[in-house]
């Protein structure tokens, strides 16, 4: 690359001069590199002869871009990185920085913001306009937050790599869909039943596979996810196969008010409000918010209980666990069942929200996205995972909104088609910059003198 001068005199030399010089070299190199690749193009003329078409303008653009890039790198990016590094080093030497107000009260602030979210959005965009924000963004993200928190118990705490988590989501959704269509049971009764059924299937899966470790466990859980999906597709008499089950009953406000338009105790009628589908969405938003809160509460409490500590110990070293008298089989089973239960809750909620479930919703990609959220967030960290869910799910939803890109790339450009591409690129970048996820450190569950976060370099990912 360019010549790196170690002469101390060059430090006095202004950044701009150095930037210009290095930009010149970068320009020369790129000129040499691109003159054949970009500057000349082979083409056929009318007589089918191979001719060389010079593209000097294009070459000039490439060279100039390289020069500008190198110049900015020297003048702006490198000093900024160096300043950040030295600032961090001095912070590490000095006393530990006191976390700001936002950092200290993050949970409380987040809960307040989420509770105020629906009225705020309704105020800003009106009843109908708020639907998109509450449903596509709010509810969608919170479902994934809940699923990822559930999977976090299995992957992040117990260190068991589960690639078929969506199976438990499916069990929950179909439990609600089938039991409510065939027996007419209510959402509030079926919510716990769906969770219990999913936990039961978690145990059923757990018994044969928990003697496997690492990659083998991952492959078997992957297969289990596919088995559940194939059963749903092929057991047509019960599940209606690929058609799915439609017309699933809506959830009601504890049976007091209903959201069915024809029902006498309709929510809007009862309060003399104009009819709108937004009420149901707002209600669902608060339901999933409460479910998320339950998941977070149970996760946090379980972590500081002996069972949670045993899960984390299992992730760190299974043999040591056994030497301390911990029954690793039951410990793994409880992790599987607890994680599956939350997947089941989320599934039942999904059924009530969509009013329609089909095997299409429970493909492997869903498992992969949920696992990606857990890994991206930092295994074991609830805050990190919530941030990752907002970024991953909210980000992909946001890419649907980027219609202005049509103005840039022409009317044929559909940003939705590129969203997985951008999403994948973003993930690679995040994992390069933060290999342990957004929150890589671990909060200890007990302390004697002071609570110190454990750096991610000490924790293990688990071997199954």
């Amino acid at each position: 690359m360019t010549v790196q001068s170690t002469n101390p005199a060059s430090k006095q030399e202004s950044l701009v001069a150095r930037g210009l010089r290095e930009a010149f070299f970068a320009g020369l190199i790129s000129l040499g590199m691109f003159s054949l690749y970009v500057g000349l193009k082979t083409d056929q003329n009318m007589l089918n002869e191979l001719v060389l078409v010079p593209r000097w303008g294009m070459l000039a653009i490439f060279v100039v871009l390289a020069m500008i890039g190198r110049f900015l790198m020297i003048v702006a990016v490198q000093p900024w990185l160096a300043a950040r590094k030295s600032a961090r080093a001095s912070a590490a030497h000095g006393q530990a920085e006191v976390p700001g107000f936002v950092a200290r009260n993050l949970t409380v602030l987040a809960v307040i913001a989420l509770v105020l979210f629906p009225p705020l959005v309704v105020g800003l965009f009106g009843m109908q306009g708020s639907l998109k924000w509450i449903d596509n963004f709010g509810i969608q993200i919170l479902i994934y937050v809940m699923l990822a928190w559930g999977l976090n118990i299995v992957v992040g705490l117990a260190g068991l790599l589960d690639l078929g988590y969506v199976a438990f989501y499916a069990v929950g959704a179909y439990s609600y869909a089938l039991l409510s269509s065939y027996f007419g049971l209510s959402f509030w009764l079926l919510l716990p039943i769906s969770g219990i059924l999913a936990a039961f299937w978690g145990m059923v899966l757990g018994f044969p596979v928990l003697r496997l470790r690492g990659d083998y466990l991952a492959v078997v859980t992957l297969a289990f996810g596919e088995i559940i999906r194939l059963v749903l597709i092929n057991w047509v008499e019960v599940t209606k196969g690929t058609f799915g089950i439609s017309g699933i009953a809506k959830a009601s406000i504890f049976g007091i008010w209903s959201f069915d338009v024809s029902a006498p105790n309709n929510f809007a009628k009862a309060f003399d409000l104009p009819m709108s589908s937004a009420y149901y969405k707002i209600f669902l938003f608060y339901v999933i918010l409460a479910l998320c809160a339950l998941t977070a509460y149970v996760s946090v409490r379980l972590r500081s209980m002996p069972i949670g500590r045993a899960w984390e110990a299992l992730r760190e070293d299974e043999i040591a666990c056994r030497s301390l008298g911990i029954n690793t089989v039951t410990t793994k089973l409880t992790a599987f069942a607890t994680g599956a239960m939350f997947g089941g809750f989320a599934g039942a909620f999904f059924g009530a929200r969509q009013g329609f479930v089909s095997p299409e919703s429970f493909v492997f990609l869903e498992s992969a996205v949920i696992l990606a959220i857990v890994v991206l967030g930092g295994m074991g960290s609830l805050v990190g995972i919530a941030i990752a869910a907002v970024v991953m799910v909210g980000g992909t939803e946001l890419l649907r909104e980027l219609t202005f890109l049509k103005a840039v790339f022409g009317p044929d450009f559909t940003p939705e088609l590129y969203r997985m591409l951008i999403f994948g690129l973003a993930m690679v970048i995040v994992m390069v910059l933060k290999p342990r996820g957004f929150v890589g450190s671990r909060q200890p569950t007990a302390f004697l003198h002071e609570r110190k976060a454990v750096s991610g370099s000490f924790t293990k990912e688990g071997h199954g």
Binding site: I307, E312, E316, L324, G325, I326, T445
Partner: protein, 293 residues
């Protein structure tokens, strides 16, 4: 073979290994091995590399199931456990045998204190009503967790790790990790503690601290110790009883002094062929006779 020394004060046997054989396919790792570990004593298991010491440990602590023979553990209450029939985690839970590992196995991502709390898993599990009562915030669990932290504190103090309690276990120095592993094993309230090379990789000062800790464990808690060790300064210093293995068979058994002067042990450590043992024996007796004369 030498008769084990009879200790008039504490002659009751805590662990009785009887005719244990362990085969891995065609390889005989332990061959018809019998020895006793007496209560309130430190018993050392020594021998050249590959003699089968760690295999004996793995049989005693349930990580291997011996091909033949039996291993009897007699608790203070008089209860007798057949260790050869039990699985690894029940050996710790029911039979009260704890162990450490040759290559340290700590929960590196958990703090030092958490490591000791994990060791009290079974007590805390019972106190928390298998999680259910604890999740509902019952008082019994809160008291139990306070007691667990007190116990952890006690062992941290003994292992001289109290000021490192909130640091990740992976951040400790090698010697401190060894001490923590012993403290963690002691938090399971064992009656017999099996240590696999506790002094490996320690400097002389750390070795001395370890000796002190092991003696304190024997004298203060009444726990019996069985240890594998290569460091003869540790073995001769602290053990009450030494068992020597070579090629999976016992070649000597007695007090440190008896074992030290056993020609078979000397031959094993110096690497003499079986046929030459008598020759070496003669030489040694000659040498000692001459020295006395």
């Amino acid at each position: 073979m030498m008769e084990p020394r009879e200790n008039p004060m504490n002659s009751d046997v805590i662990l009785k290994v009887e005719h244990v054989t362990m085969r891995f396919g065609g390889l005989v790792a332990i061959n018809d091995l019998s020895f006793d570990v007496r209560r309130n004593e430190i018993t050392a298991l020594i021998g050249p590399n590959g003699a089968g010491k760690t295999t004996v440990f793995n049989c005693v602590t349930g990580f291997y199931r011996p091909t033949m023979g039996r291993i009897l553990m007699t608790q203070k209450s008089g209860k007798v456990c057949h260790l050869e029939r039990m699985t690894d985690f029940t050996i710790n839970r029911e039979a009260k045998v704890a162990r450490t590992f040759q290559n340290i196995r700590l929960f590196t991502g958990l703090t030092v204190l958490e490591n000791l709390l994990v060791a009290q898993h079974n007590t805390l599990m019972r106190a928390s009503g298998y999680t259910v009562l604890g999740l509902l915030g019952f008082k019994g669990y809160r008291n139990a967790s306070v007691a667990a932290i007190e116990k952890a504190k006690l062992w941290l103090e003994r292992a001289d790790l109290l000021d490192r309690a909130d640091d990740p276990a992976g951040d400790l120095s090698y010697g401190a990790q060894r001490r923590l592993e012993i403290a963690r094993a002691m938090c399971t309230d064992p009656e017999l503690l099996c240590l696999d090379e506790p002094a490996a990789g320690l400097n002389p000062r750390e070795s001395l601290e370890l000796n002190k800790l092991l003696r304190a464990i024997r004298d203060d808690t009444g726990t019996s110790l069985l240890l594998i060790e290569h460091d003869m300064s540790v073995v001769m210093e602290i053990s009450d009883h030494v068992v020597v293995l070579e090629y999976g068979t016992k070649i000597s058994d007695g007090t440190p002094d008896e074992v030290k002067n056993d020609p078979k042990v000397i031959a094993a450590y110096l690497g003499v062929d079986d046929e030459e043992v008598d020759e070496v024996l003669d030489e040694i007796t000659h040498a000692t006779d001459e020295a006395q004369a």
